[in-house]
Amino acid sequence: MPILISFIKIVMVIFVVILPMVAYSVWAERRVSAVIQERVGPNRVGIPFTKIRLFGLGQPIADGIKFLLKEDFTPGHVNKFYYWLAPALTMVPALLTCAVLPFGSELFGEKMVIADLNVGPLFIFAIASLSVYGIVLAGWASNSKYSFLGGVRSSSQMISYEISLGLSLVPVLLIFGELNLSEIVWEQSKNGWLLLPFWGDGAIWNGGVDRFFLLFPAFIAFIVFTTSIFAETNRLPFDLPECETELVAGYHTEYSSMKFALFFLGEYAAMIIGSGLIVTLFLGGWSLPFGLDAYLMNMTGDPEQIPWWLGLIHIGTFLAKVIVFILFFIWVRWTLPRFRYDQLMRLGWIIFFELALVNIFITAGILILTRGSAS
């Protein structure tokens, strides 16, 4: 029975939430970029054979069909095995990481997380690091100079930023003293989000002095983490692996049809999971702000039991926050120009690495001063 429930959750999350979100974030990317550049963007594809357009919401479906019907060409000069393996290796880790993300509180007494692991962030880092293999393999197996350069750039970039990504999370984990993402969100629901500690025990007027002073390191961690997520997902200020002005299309130059689409979708899936992770760690995951959760739960009488409608609200809140972050990702992409490669490496190794490292000590110092040695 638990297996069946997990199965239902996996199907619901992957096929009902993530994959449509991936498809529609591509659409959102195109529409938002169009709006930023004062264009219109895809607004025509609606319901087929009718004049109904629906703001072009049919575009992702049409794109998907197009990708499936296109010729799947494998060039003669590639290493076939790795060439076929690489797209799967970019898509699968991106989807695997969503296993530990809590996308809601509880629904009918069932925790809204696929795998309630006690090592959530570690699991995510372990799996997310695998996605670099997809890109490196694509670069090597394609046997083309553009792909190769893209793969090399990508691997060095992802390895560099993984360090600051990991280190910037340490203060967050120090503050919560917890590695289980569901518990972290519960804590934030009760005592204030990490970046907004203004209710429960986290509020300064309720004795949450530590949380107030911890806002500063939390904000640094947030900046470093968000920027590193940008770099990890190869999004625009850091999209050197595929910068089309220099490398045609980088590591997926030699790919066509659905294999190319897998790279494309893998990037967006990684973006969605990254947004989900940022939201979960810094902005309270599925929880409503200002102690509304506790208020609504008390209203129903039983503070331990979450009614089904509140569970749905929580899922909706989580999705709304993630969508806001995706829009932020898109907004940044169409604002900032691409970094030069040495600037990228400098930012990663000289600024973010040190900043994240110092941030750990600042956090530890504040924790010792405010909570004492007991915690």
């Binding site: 930023i36 264009r39 219109v40 604002t335 900032l336």
Partner: protein, 176 residues
């Protein structure tokens, strides 16, 4: 005297890039909001909305031949346009005007006049070079066809597009 341009001194804030990034985000958001509130419109939904009524007088569309108010075809088959045409889109087969014709003193007219619209680059040199004011670039721009043959405008089609044009110099009307 050599002028030495000082490199600008960046303040600490500027060195952090952060204010610049915020400024950039504000600019893009401003553009987005402006277009979302329909304050500004730069795109036209092409097949439904068209430029046709706003085309400037000097618009260079499809080249066409014209007849004048006397019903005379103005082209005298001098073939200057054929020679100047950069992509060699124009082919003219001249013929002599029979002596019993009212305009026999013009001597030549095109038997066939073909413009290959696949080749035409709408440069307007044929119009410029024409000593007879016979060929003009009209405002038609959506030239399409299912075959290559359809894309070659023959004499009949060219006169159909060009139509009658009045008020041109009529140098063949006076007696000589």
């Amino acid at each position: 005297m050599a002028v030495i341009v000082e490199r600008p001194k960046l303040s600490i804030l500027e060195k952090f890039y952060f204010p610049a990034i915020m400024k950039g985000l504000r600019i893009t958001l401003g553009h987005a909001i402006r277009i979302l509130r329909r304050k500004k419109k730069v795109t036209m939904q092409y097949p439904e909305e068209k430029w046709d009524n706003n085309l400037p007088e000097h618009y260079r569309g499809a080249p066409a031949l014209v007849t004048d108010e006397h019903g005379r075809e103005r082209c005298v088959s001098c073939q200057l346009c054929e020679f100047i045409c950069p992509p060699r889109a124009i082919t003219i087969i001249p013929e002599e005007i029979p002596p019993e014709d009212q305009w026999s003193k013009v001597e030549k007219r095109p038997r066939e006049f073909e413009i290959d619209m696949i080749r035409c680059i709408y440069c307007g040199m044929c119009e410029e070079v024409c000593p007879e004011q016979a060929i003009f670039l009209r405002k038609d721009y959506a030239i399409s066809g299912y075959t290559r043959d359809e894309m070659v405008h023959n004499k009949k089609k060219l006169y159909e597009i060009g139509g009658v044009r009045e008020g041109l110099v009529n140098k063949w009307n006076t007696l000589k």
